[in-house]
């Protein structure tokens, strides 16, 4: 499974669990407009850490937080590379 579809799956699952309506995931989607709240994001990041063994929010030297869904995928892409 690609990194992108793994992230999409996690976002869909957490949105369903937390009863949030997830916006269609495009590169340009601003994360804060995705329908997920900060708790949802924290859970997505924790579960991705379980899956990937990586948490770029905790380990990245990059201190620019991702703003769009595309940024988010690239954020993970860089640590996975």
């Amino acid at each position: 499974m690609s990194l992108r579809s793994l992230i999409e799956d996690q976002m869909r699952q957490v949105a369903a669990e937390q009863q949030k309506r997830l916006a269609p995931l495009s590169d340009e989607l601003v994360l804060l407009d995705s329908g997920l709240d900060s708790l949802c994001f924290a859970i997505v990041v924790a579960r991705l850490e379980d899956e990937l063994g990586e948490d770029p929010f905790a380990t990245s030297e990059d201190i620019d937080f991702p703003i769009t869904f595309g940024d988010f995928v690239r954020f993970y892409d860089r640590v996975a590379a």
């Binding site: 708790l39 379980d50 937080f65 991702p66």
Partner: protein, 470 residues
């Protein structure tokens, strides 16, 4: 730091007196909510309660509001008039409200919601957004109104601590103040009905400056847009609030002069991210608790605090570390918990045990988390035992342990380790069952973010589950 007048020098000035004293003539400072605003001069002059001041003088008043601005109107009207005011946080449920009313000896309730009846038998008065007749002229109020605040507690009956306006405002200085700079415009991500947000409210009111308020109903992007429109210069929130703001494109449109973090551990990553985003701004992280008051502020951009703070004595706050836990002794400490059976807040010498674990690394102390194992999810504190009790009630569960799992976005998340009665059982089915049960019983932040099945959990010599930060 602004020195507090000594208590012996007669009755302390009321909040209204202090707003009036701070107002610069011609300045249009205001409290600005999402839906409406009230000027500080209006606050200093007006009476905003449907009951005349003579009816609340000396009484014990519950302040329970939907809008934070209404709470500010009530607090300003009541200070110096009511004997005790009890500031209810927005998420207090009906049972907790009734318990609090009984513990505090409430005589009446003020609120901004028509159909909110509150505890039975308690008279209910409305908070108006326009000043109305019935002000305190000629009414003998209370010399020093007691302010009761809820601790950011975990479960069961909420605890309240009693403060005075003097103690609450004791730490308020003017950070990042430059004499020639225009007056600051503050905004706070905190709710002003909790200690951290109340600090921001009192800072603005006693400094005569504007403050933007928000509440859970306003989306973050909307609040950031209002900050841009009002030219916010000073901005305060928890590290979790800040991490969320850093993910918003709207943050780029702000140019704050001062950023403040408190309420959770400020780690180096969030401090560095803010420094990179706002190279010109002063950035401070403060340590405070509802019980102990504001302890100190760190302004060197580094996580933790200098070990030298332990030796310093500014006459107001002293600090020490006992068994790895931070203790504070301060003029800003609350008077005590409310309630007949309440434990003492501090020891005989006035030291308050904060319950926060610290570790010395070189010349600096770093925060490790809560000694009690309490999990702090974005500023909301969760008792592991409460969540364990819910999980343990699920069929097929033998026992569970709930721990904090470090989260770079919210500080911590709830993680559960579960032992099933039938080790050969179906973990996927059990996971679904446990999650469904937790979601039906607990608010979202208390529901485990992850569940791990284990064969056994270690029980210590005292027969208690061994707890540690995962």
């Amino acid at each position: 730091m602004t020195a507090s007048p000594p208590e012996a020098a007669g009755p302390a000035p009321s909040l209204k007196d202090r707003i009036a004293a701070a107002l610069v003539s011609g300045a249009a400072s205001a409290l600005i909510g999402a839906e409406r605003s009230v000027t500080l001069s209006g606050l200093a002059d007006g009476w905003f309660l449907s009951s005349p001041a003579s009816e609340v003088a000396g009484r014990c008043v519950l302040v329970r509001t939907r809008s934070p601005l209404a709470a500010a109107l009530a607090l300003t009207s009541l200070d110096g008039i009511a004997g005790r005011l009890i500031l209810c946080p927005p998420d207090l449920d009906a049972t907790q409200l009734a318990q609090a009313a009984a513990t505090a000896g409430a005589d009446l309730m003020v609120g901004d919601v028509e159909d909110d009846e509150g505890p039975s038998g308690l008279a209910h008065h409305r908070i108006a957004f326009e000043p109305i007749r019935g002000g305190p002229d000629g009414v003998a109020g209370a010399p020093a109104t007691e302010w009761a605040l809820f601790t950011s507690g975990t479960s069961g009956a909420p605890k309240m601590v009693a403060h005075t306006l003097q103690g609450l405002t004791g730490a308020i200085g003017q950070p990042g103040a430059v004499a020639s700079a225009p007056p600051p415009v503050w905004a706070t991500f905190y709710d002003i009905r909790r200690y951290g947000g109340l600090q921001m409210l009192l800072r603005a009111l006693t400094g005569g400056v504007s403050l933007l308020l928000t509440d859970a109903r306003e989306p973050p992007a909307g609040f950031l847009g209002r900050m841009r429109d009002h030219g916010v210069t000073h901005l305060a929130g928890t590290p979790s609030h800040w991490r969320r703001a850093l993910m918003s494109p709207a943050l780029a449109e702000l140019s704050p002069r001062y950023l403040r973090l408190s309420g959770e551990i400020a780690d180096q990553a969030v401090l560095d991210s803010l420094r990179a985003r706002f190279p010109q701004a002063a950035i401070g992280h403060a340590y405070a608790s509802t019980e102990a008051g504001v302890g100190f502020e760190v302004t060197d951009g580094l996580a933790g605090f200098p070990a030298a703070y332990l030796e310093r004595d500014d006459g107001t706050v002293a600090m020490r570390v006992v068994d790895g836990t931070l203790q504070l002794r301060s003029a800003r400490t609350a008077r005590g918990y409310l309630g007949a059976d309440a434990p003492p807040l501090g020891d005989a010498d006035g030291w308050v045990d904060t319950g926060d674990l610290v570790e010395r690394r070189g010349e600096r102390f770093h925060f490790l988390g809560r000694r009690s194992g309490v999990i702090n999810v974005g500023g909301l504190k969760i008792s592991p035992e409460e969540v364990e009790a819910v999980i343990n009630a699920c069929p097929g569960v033998r026992m569970s342990r709930v721990v904090g799992r470090a989260s770079p976005l919210l500080g911590a998340l709830v993680a559960a380790e579960v032992v099933l009665t039938d080790a050969a059982g179906d973990p996927a089915g059990a996971r679904g069952l446990i999650m469904a049960h937790c979601r039906a019983t607990l608010p979202p932040h208390k529901t485990p973010a992850s569940i791990r099945f284990v064969e056994a959990l270690k029980v210590g010599a005292a027969g208690k589950l061994e707890r540690r930060l995962a």
